[in-house]
Symmetry: C7
Subunit: 96 residues, 7 copies
Amino acid sequence: MTTLRRVTLDVLKPHEPSMLAFTERVAEVESVDGVTASLIELDQEVQNVKITAEGAGLDYDAIEAAVDGLGGTIHSIDQVAYGEHVVEERRTLQDG
Amino acid sequence: MTTLRRVTLDVLKPHEPSMLAFTERVAEVESVDGVTASLIELDQEVQNVKITAEGAGLDYDAIEAAVDGLGGTIHSIDQVAYGEHVVEERRTLQDG
Amino acid sequence: MTTLRRVTLDVLKPHEPSMLAFTERVAEVESVDGVTASLIELDQEVQNVKITAEGAGLDYDAIEAAVDGLGGTIHSIDQVAYGEHVVEERRTLQDG
Amino acid sequence: MTTLRRVTLDVLKPHEPSMLAFTERVAEVESVDGVTASLIELDQEVQNVKITAEGAGLDYDAIEAAVDGLGGTIHSIDQVAYGEHVVEERRTLQDG
Amino acid sequence: MTTLRRVTLDVLKPHEPSMLAFTERVAEVESVDGVTASLIELDQEVQNVKITAEGAGLDYDAIEAAVDGLGGTIHSIDQVAYGEHVVEERRTLQDG
Amino acid sequence: MTTLRRVTLDVLKPHEPSMLAFTERVAEVESVDGVTASLIELDQEVQNVKITAEGAGLDYDAIEAAVDGLGGTIHSIDQVAYGEHVVEERRTLQDG
Amino acid sequence: MTTLRRVTLDVLKPHEPSMLAFTERVAEVESVDGVTASLIELDQEVQNVKITAEGAGLDYDAIEAAVDGLGGTIHSIDQVAYGEHVVEERRTLQDG
C-alpha cells in the first residue's frame, strides 16, 4: 500500500481568510506534518497561492475539503509524490 | 545482472483519473519505491506529465502497463539509470 | 494543534526607526527565535523591506502589532510555513 | 596504472532497441557499475542520447562494442575521468 | 533580549585607507567575529563596498563609528539578522 | 615548500590519439591522482579540450611533456591551485 | 587582534613568469596556506588574473611584495575577509 508524501497545489483563494488562517487550517488536517504556502499573485478578488504539503500519508480528500471549506479552489495539482520516500525530481535535457 | 533504478517518462494522460490516482497506481507497481509526477502542461483533452520512478529493480513493463491501464501513453523515455547505484548526470561543456 | 514556524512579509516602513531598530523590535516578540530583514527598495518616504521570521510557534498577531507599533504596514504575506517542521518549497515545472 | 572512472558519450541510436534495452545492455558490460542515459533529441530515424557510465575501471572498448552491437554510434566523447577518484570539473572564468 | 548577528552594509569609502585597513578596523570592533568586504565599484573619489559583519551580538553603533572614523559613510543597510541564530532568507515567488 | 594541487588547462589536441588515450596518458604522470577532460569544441583538424588534473604535488613539466608527447599544445593555463589545500574560488561582485 | 583570512585580488601580470610560477611564488609567502589563480583574460602584453589567497593570518604586504617582485601589479582588491572565521557573503536583494 503506497502513501502520498508530498503534494503541491496551485490554489485560488479569496482574500479572507488570510493566507495565515488558510494555511493553518490545511496544516491542521490530520495526516499533514507541514505546509508551506507562497503568494504567486493577487488581484482585487482572489489570491493565487502555491501550497506544498508533506506528511507520511497525506489524506488528499481531507486537504481538498479544507481548501474548499475556506472558499478556495484547487486550480491545478502541480506535483505529487507517492511511495516509501519522496523521489526528488531532477532536471533532464528535455526540461525547457 | 543489472537493474533499472530510476526512469523519467514524459506521459500524456487523460484528465481522469486525476494526477493523484494516476501516480498512486504507478507507485503501487511491485518494484517501485517512489514516484514523483509533475504537471508540464494541460489542455482540454490531456495532461502532459513528467513522471520519475525510483526503485532497487524497477519492472518497466509493469510501469508501462499501469500507465496504459489508466489511459495514458508514454510519449518519451527522457532518462533511465541502470546499475548498482544511480549515476547522477553532470552538465558538460556540450550541454546547450 | 499546528504552529507557525516561518513567515515572510513584504513590509513598508518609514525611514525612522532604522531597519536595525525595526528588526530588533520584531525579534523581541516573545515567540520569535530569529528575524532577517532585507532592503528591497527605498524612496524619500518609505523603505520596502522583506522580513523573514522563524520560531517554534510564531505569534503572528504580536509580530503584526510590533510592525504597526513602529509605523510600518504589512504590504503582503509572501510565504508562511505551518507544522512540525518547515516544508521547503521546491521549484516545479509550473513556476515561471 | 590509472583507470577510467567515468565517461560521458554523445550517442546516436536507432529507435529500436529502446533507450531502456540500450542502456541496460551498456550497464551489463563487466566493468560498468552504473549508467544513466538522457534523451537529447530524436527525429524519425534516430535518437540522440547522452550516456554517462561510471565504474572503478571502465573497459571503454567493451562499452563501445556494446553500443555498436545495438546499432548505435558514438558521435563524440564529451567527458572522461581517469585516476584514483573522479576529479569534478569546476567552472572557470574561461567557460563561456 | 535579542542580539544582532549579521549586518550587510553598502558603504562609500575614500580610496584611503585601503579596503584592507578599512575592513581590518571594522573587524577589530569588540563584538565582531568576522567581516567580509567586497568591492562593488569605484571611481576617482570613492569606493563603493559591500560589508558583511557577523558576531554573537554585534554592536552596530561601534561598527558605524569605525566606518565614520575611517572617512566612510553607510549608504544603506541592506540586510540585518537578529535573534538566537541567523535566519537564512529564501527566495519566494515574489522576488523579482 | 608549496605544491601544485590542481591545474586546469585549455588544450588543443589532434583527433588521434583519442580523448581517452590522451587523458589516460596524462593520468599516468607520476604525481597525478586524477584527470577529467571535457570536450569544448572540435573541427576537422583539432579538438579543443578542457583538462583538470588534481594531485598532492602535481609535476607540471611532466604533465606538459605528456601533452606535447601526444601532439597536443597547451593553449592557456586557466586555473592553478597551490598550497596545503585547494582554495575554492568564489564569485565576487567583480565577476562579470 | 583580528587577522586577514582571505583576499581576492585582480592582478595584471606579464606573460613571464607563467601563471604557475607566479602563483607558486605567492603560495610560498609565509602566512599563505593556499592560493588559486584564474585567468580572466590576456592580450599580447599582459595577463589579467584573479588571485584568491587563504590563510590563518595572511601577511598582505608580503603578498603584495611577491606580486610586485614578479612584475605584477594589483589592479584592485576585490574581496577581503578578516576575523575568527571567513564570513561567507550572501546575495542580498540589492545585488544587481
